[in-house]
């Protein structure tokens, strides 16, 4: 069971109040987590990664175990603590402004 923490606006779109939990078979990567997330919550399609290119939207970042995985290739395995559900994958909106 994988845990994913979404920004507030995406929680509202998905009609969830807290972390979401996903079942993933096979390697736990950014791509497999996002595939599972979008399958369970299809209203999030296009909001985290582009519908067509599947590239991460530029103002979103992915953090796992206090490390920024945003620039890692999408098929890079995520840490064991994410795969085991001990830690959540954080999807974070970049903070802009002063």
């Amino acid at each position: 069971m994988i845990r994913v923490a979404l920004p507030g606006h995406l929680r509202a779109l998905a009609h969830v109040n807290a972390e979401v939990q996903l079942d993933i078979t096979g390697p736990v990567t950014q791509r497999s987590v996002l595939d599972a997330l979008e399958a369970q919550y299809p209203m999030l399609r296009g909001t985290i990664r582009d519908h067509v290119t599947q590239e991460r939207r530029p103002f979103l970042r992915f953090f796992a175990c206090e490390e920024d995985y945003s620039l890692e290739p999408p098929d890079t395995p995520l840490p064991d603590a994410i795969a085991s559900g001990k830690e959540p994958l954080l999807i974070i909106g970049a903070i802009a402004g002063g």
């Binding site: 920004p7 507030g8 606006h9 995406l10 779109l13 998905a14 009609h15 979008e38 399958a39 369970q40 919550y41 299809p42 209203m43 999030l44 399609r45 296009g46 909001t47 985290i48 582009d50 519908h51 067509v52 939207r57 103002f59 979103l60 909106g93 970049a94």
Partner: protein
């Protein structure tokens, strides 16, 4: 008893304002989609309880929302909460925000337009500026998007297809963004001729199709824009908004960057009707519901100073189809007012007397229940208003 429902899109959410036909006491609902930019909301004339909304964000991109109960509840079309993708077996869900430029229809490489520096730049989808529901089919709705293109859905907003003949007719590589981006912001469906559609793009100009969107041509003859290399160019004009009275679909009124214009032949030729306006820069323009020669604008000081002249918020009305204008000031601030009124932020209802509504970047929505003679704020402290539409309900 008639009712009116005013749909307000703002920088930080949507608001729905309702009143009976007297239009004196208002109920305010919202914010819907709090924190999101709501570029436009518009109800279906064929099913007034069906409302389409464009919701967007610099972080999360474009979302399309639809209500089928007059704005009480909303769904992303085709994607009800709780249903997983392709479950039960069927088409994929979560497609209502998928706007993909089509290069197949014309066979031409529709890949670039002019950038600010004159170089060519790829077309990149950014957001939906305007949603225009069909007058007679509740499942058909058009979307004007940035970078400029026209899309259509025939399944209630679940899926969108580009009408690519617009970008493909030949002038696309000469279109250039205005200061607000290269947006298709105006869509007018001819109520008497289903094949005829008018659209306007900043900064390309106005265009018309007579065959339902397959073939398009620029309709900018008569426009004169001193700020572009060829002031009389076929395309490149910064058209801010176009309005039409449904009873006379061949007569169009335009607020250009500078200049208020009219055409009496479906856009084939425009003539200036700025007349005695104190400044002819502005964004909004609209037409009285029952008097097709009565039009409204809100003059703005200049392209460098987007606020009313002398700090006085004045709607100008012409009862002669332009040229002769009168200032409407009763109930509007006449000192220290430095708001703007954006291009999609004025609407009229179809009651008698005609109601006129507009929203400001200062968060006020003003209403007049007597065709502009007197104004009152419905609300005064919303986020900056991006769009105002009104539905007249039986």
């Amino acid at each position: 008893m008639s009712q009116v429902r005013v749909l307000v899109g703002t920088r930080k959410g949507a608001f729905i304002l309702t009143s009976d036909g007297k239009r004196q006491n208002w109920n305010v609902s919202g914010p819907h989609f709090a924190g999101w930019e709501m570029y436009h909301l518009k109800g279906s004339p064929a099913n007034p309880n069906r409302i389409f909304a464009s919701q967007c964000s610099g972080w999360f991109g474009q979302i399309i929302q639809r209500s089928d109960d007059g704005g009480k509840t909303w769904i992303q079309p085709g994607t009800p909460p709780g249903e997983k993708n392709a479950e039960p077996a069927g088409p994929p869900k979560g497609e209502s925000n998928k706007f993909v430029y089509d290069t197949s229809a014309t066979g031409k490489p529709l890949t670039t337009h002019m950038w600010y520096d004159g170089t060519q730049h790829p077309w990149e989808f950014k957001r939906v500026w305007h949603l225009e529901p069909s007058p007679n089919d509740p499942d058909t709705v058009y979307a004007g998007v940035e970078d400029a293109a026209l899309f259509r859905s025939t399944d209630g907003g679940k899926n969108w297809q580009e009408l690519s003949g617009l970008r493909g007719h030949g002038t696309g590589p000469r279109w250039q963004p205005g200061a607000g981006g290269m947006c298709l912001h105006t869509i007018i469906l001819d109520p008497k001729d289903p094949g005829r559609i008018y659209i306007a793009i900043s900064a390309a100009g106005a265009f018309r199709t007579d065959d339902g969107g397959k073939n398009w041509r620029p309709i900018n003859k008569g426009l004169h824009s001193q700020y572009i290399p060829d002031p009389n160019a076929e395309v490149g004009h910064c058209v801010h908004h176009v309005a039409m009275n449904p009873s006379r679909p061949g007569v169009l009124f335009m607020q250009k960057h500078w200049d208020v214009m009219r055409s009496d032949n479906a856009g084939d030729l425009w003539k200036e009707v700025s007349g005695n306006l104190p400044t002819d820069f502005g964004f909004v323009i609209d037409v009285h519901a029952h008097e097709p020669e009565t039009i409204y604008v809100v003059p703005i000081k200049s392209d460098g100073e987007h606020f009313p002249l002398d700090g006085k918020l004045r709607v100008y009305r012409s009862k002669t189809g332009g040229n002769e204008w009168e200032a409407l000031t009763k109930g509007l601030p006449q000192s220290n007012c430095y708001v703007n009124v954006l291009r999609d932020a004025m609407a009229v209802d179809s009651l008698d007397k005609c109601g006129v509504y507009f929203g400001t970047t200062g968060g006020q929505v003003y209403a007049s229940a007597d065709a502009g003679d007197n104004w009152n704020p419905i609300v005064s402290h919303l986020p900056a208003v991006l769009s105002v539409e009104v539905q007249t309900l039986a």
